[in-house]
């Protein structure tokens, strides 16, 4: 079976800095995959290429056989790829419910005139949207906070609301940029439970960027390691953990450690 997402030879430069250097990447449907790597390894750049925010200098990306490069972010969302952001980017002055409703924008498909005359079609659609929004808020455990302003929510809830908003666009592929950042181990664990349920019940494919290694190793079917814009390893979590280049990227070379006088880099 062809992979859901297929990236070939992605190269992205910022001036003299090569953020991604001919990276190939495959993602199978129904999997939870992770991208890990030290800070500045190019993980978020990778996401931005997939979601149309950056256009790479070279390479191709296809999703279900359709080329993604050159499409606008909103078109890519309509195709079924949706994301969350590393630094939470909710619509702060809108309620949790409205945030999720905006997430559904690509699926509304009502012309302007229906809104203006409040046609029966609009009524039915709007009601369906609110029902669906309530359901999604339930999925991420925020149903009782539907009317709270997003900016007033506690940090963990904001992360989950971002997930709920992304689910609003009914994606086939969900890209989560450090979803457990700033969460306690317990919160992170329950979020991973949720992700696993989403892949099992909704047939979602999930790609994570994560720093929390325990989370990564527990939940992922597949791990890709980036360092300085290059893919240095990939495979099952257990194999990647043992890979010497990965250890080197994270901890530094063995002989450097005593010289610098520190236990690890």
């Amino acid at each position: 079976m062809a992979p859901l997402l297929e990236a070939r030879g992605i190269t992205k430069r910022f001036g003299g800095l090569t953020a991604l250097d001919e990276v190939n990447f495959d993602l199978d449907e129904g999997h939870i995959a992770s991208i890990i790597g030290p800070n500045g390894a190019g993980k978020t750049t990778f996401f931005n290429v997939f979601t149309g925010i950056y256009v790479p200098e070279a390479g191709t990306v296809s999703f279900r056989g359709q080329a993604l490069l050159g499409r606008r972010p909103d078109e890519i969302t309509a195709l079924g790829i949706c994301r969350t952001f590393q630094n939470i980017r909710l619509f702060g002055n809108m309620t949790a419910m409205e945030n999720v409703l905006v997430g559904m924008h690509a699926r509304v498909g009502l012309p302007f005139w229906d809104v203006l005359i409040r046609s029966p079609r609009w009524r039915i659609r709007e009601r369906a949207l609110w029902d669906k929004g309530a359901e999604l808020l339930g999925v991420v455990g925020l149903r009782d906070k539907a009317n709270e302003l997003a900016r007033n929510l506690p940090y963990g809830d904001q992360r989950r609301l971002e997930l709920g908003r992304a689910l609003g666009s009914a994606p086939a592929l969900l890209l989560l940029d450090e979803p457990t950042a700033g969460m306690t181990q317990g919160e992170a664990r329950s979020l991973m439970e949720l992700l696993r349920r989403l892949t099992a019940n909704r047939g979602l494919t999930i790609l994570l960027i994560e720093h929390n290694m325990r989370v990564v190793m527990e939940v992922s079917d597949h791990v890709t390691v980036l360092d300085y814009g290059e893919k240095i390893a990939e495979g099952r979590p257990a194999d990647v953990q043992k890979n010497s280049r990965v250890i080197e990227a994270y901890l530094g070379r063995k002989r450097w450690a005593p010289a610098s006088g520190r236990a690890s880099g």
Partner: protein, 426 residues
């Protein structure tokens, strides 16, 4: 003291006493105005009681009936006693509709537009040119002015033309936001004004700074009805009332459209763009289309009001569409509360009343004192330089209000309320 206010509040919280109080306030102030038609203070009290009607906690349908009675009966009656009050009401209506249009662009979509009055000008000139002999200079012959009936058609034509101008402005500025957008829209507003000023040659479209006159007014199509009812009134008496109701209708439509757009996926997308446009686009909001739609919608209101303005004034020239007008409309929505429909209307009312009533009233009063030769502390008011007339302080008072608002109530007088729904209701 607290016991008294507490009791008062409890009393006003119940629908029946609240309704009675508001109705009594409205009738009492209206009666006061009819007795002292020249008292500005009493008319302002009447306007204040309209505000209490909006704020009072009474059932929606009662509020609707009272509003209809106040705006549909009381206001016209008072206006027939003192025509100036009707003029104020019409101006408030015109600016309310403008503020509501700008509210879509600035308040909802967060696109700072400093040249909004350009769309007002586009609407006004589109009727002024064909609704006066001016168009004969362009097309030749003597087909113009078009018959007055065309006024109604041009309400819609101007909506389309202004929306087109909105798209025209929107397209080049799509990539800009914040300060850059503000500067470009400011320039656009000036371009339209300068065009109006200079398009008198080689072909005379706008008659330049001399302006266009006389512009046709809408036809009094209900004249036979009036005659059948035995009402004998000339156009001089009818037109203010007629225009008043037309303005009321336009404001009503604007409010309706505003509310419908706001409470839909379109309005939510606009607000998402205002909050974070990168995130909005990543969530599937097509930025280009939604921004253009915001510009076009906002502009179309201004276009329709422009037609009405041209007909009301009978004469227009580029002086009516200066940069300060754009700032004035912007000040109205900042004062009332960004993104808030009642706020925009209240802001329009406060600013207009301040300009036309309070400052002018104070000038008149000062003039009377001066003419009477009154002296204060040995200083003869007749020696007061004319530069010190309150009416000339308009812009300063404006600025002062905005500064004070930014310090003490940055969200505006009537800030936008979030749409809150109980999940069980849906």
């Amino acid at each position: 003291m607290t016991a008294v206010t507490g009791a008062l509040r409890a009393w006003l919280d119940r629908p029946l006493p609240a309704t009675a109080t508001v109705a009594a306030l409205l009738l009492a102030t209206a009666w006061g105005v009819s007795y002292f038609p020249r008292s500005i203070v009493l008319f302002m009290l009447f306007q204040g009681s309209i505000l209490t009607l909006y704020l009072a906690r009474i059932p929606g349908w009662v509020k609707g009936v009272l509003t209809a009675g106040t705006l549909g009966v009381l206001m016209p009656v008072l206006g027939s006693i003192n025509a100036y009050y009707l003029e104020i009401a019409i101006q408030v209506g015109i600016f309310a509709a403008l503020a509501l249009g700008l509210n879509i662009v600035v308040g909802l979509a967060g696109l700072l537009d400093l040249g909004y009055v350009a769309f007002f000008a586009v609407g006004a000139y589109s009727w002024a040119i064909v609704g006066s002999p001016q168009a004969n200079l362009i097309f030749g012959g003597s087909a113009f002015p078009l018959p007055p009936w065309w006024f109604f058609a041009f309400l819609f034509v101007a909506v389309a033309v202004a929306a087109g101008a909105g798209l025209l402005l929107g397209l080049p500025v799509l990539r800009l936001h914040g300060d850059y957008l503000a500067i470009v829209t400011l320039g656009f507003g000036e371009v339209i004004r300068v065009l109006a000023n200079n398009l008198d040659k080689p072909i005379n479209f706008t008659n330049g700074p001399k302006g266009i006159t006389p512009i046709s007014r809408p036809p009094i199509f209900f004249e036979p009805v009036l005659r059948a009812l035995g009402v004998e009134a000339g156009p001089v008496a009818i037109y203010p009332l007629y225009l008043y109701f037309l303005v009321l209708l336009i404001v009503g439509v604007t409010v309706l459209v505003n509310r419908r757009l706001e409470d839909s996926h379109i309005g939510r997308a606009w607000e998402a763009i205002r909050e974070d446009q990168t995130a909005a686009q990543a969530m599937g909001v097509p930025l280009v289309r939604m921004k253009l739609l915001a510009f076009a919608c906002g502009a179309s209101f201004a276009g329709a009001v422009g037609v009405l303005f041209a007909a009301k004034q009978v004469f227009i020239n580029p002086e009516s569409f200066t940069f300060m007008e754009s700032i004035g409309v912007l000040a109205m929505i900042i004062l009332g509360g960004m993104g808030s429909i009642p706020g925009a209307i209240l802001g329009a009312a406060v600013v207009t009343i301040l300009n036309l009533q309070v400052l002018k009233g104070m000038s008149l009063w000062l003039n009377e004192l001066r003419n009477a030769g009154v002296s204060i502390f040995g200083f003869n008011l007749a020696d007061l330089p004319t530069q010190l007339e309150p009416a000339k302080y308009e812009r300063m008072v404006f600025g002062l209000i905005l500064v004070l608002m930014m310090i003490f109530r940055p969200q505006g007088i009537l800030p936008a309320k979030r749409r809150v729904r109980e999940l069980e209701d849906i």
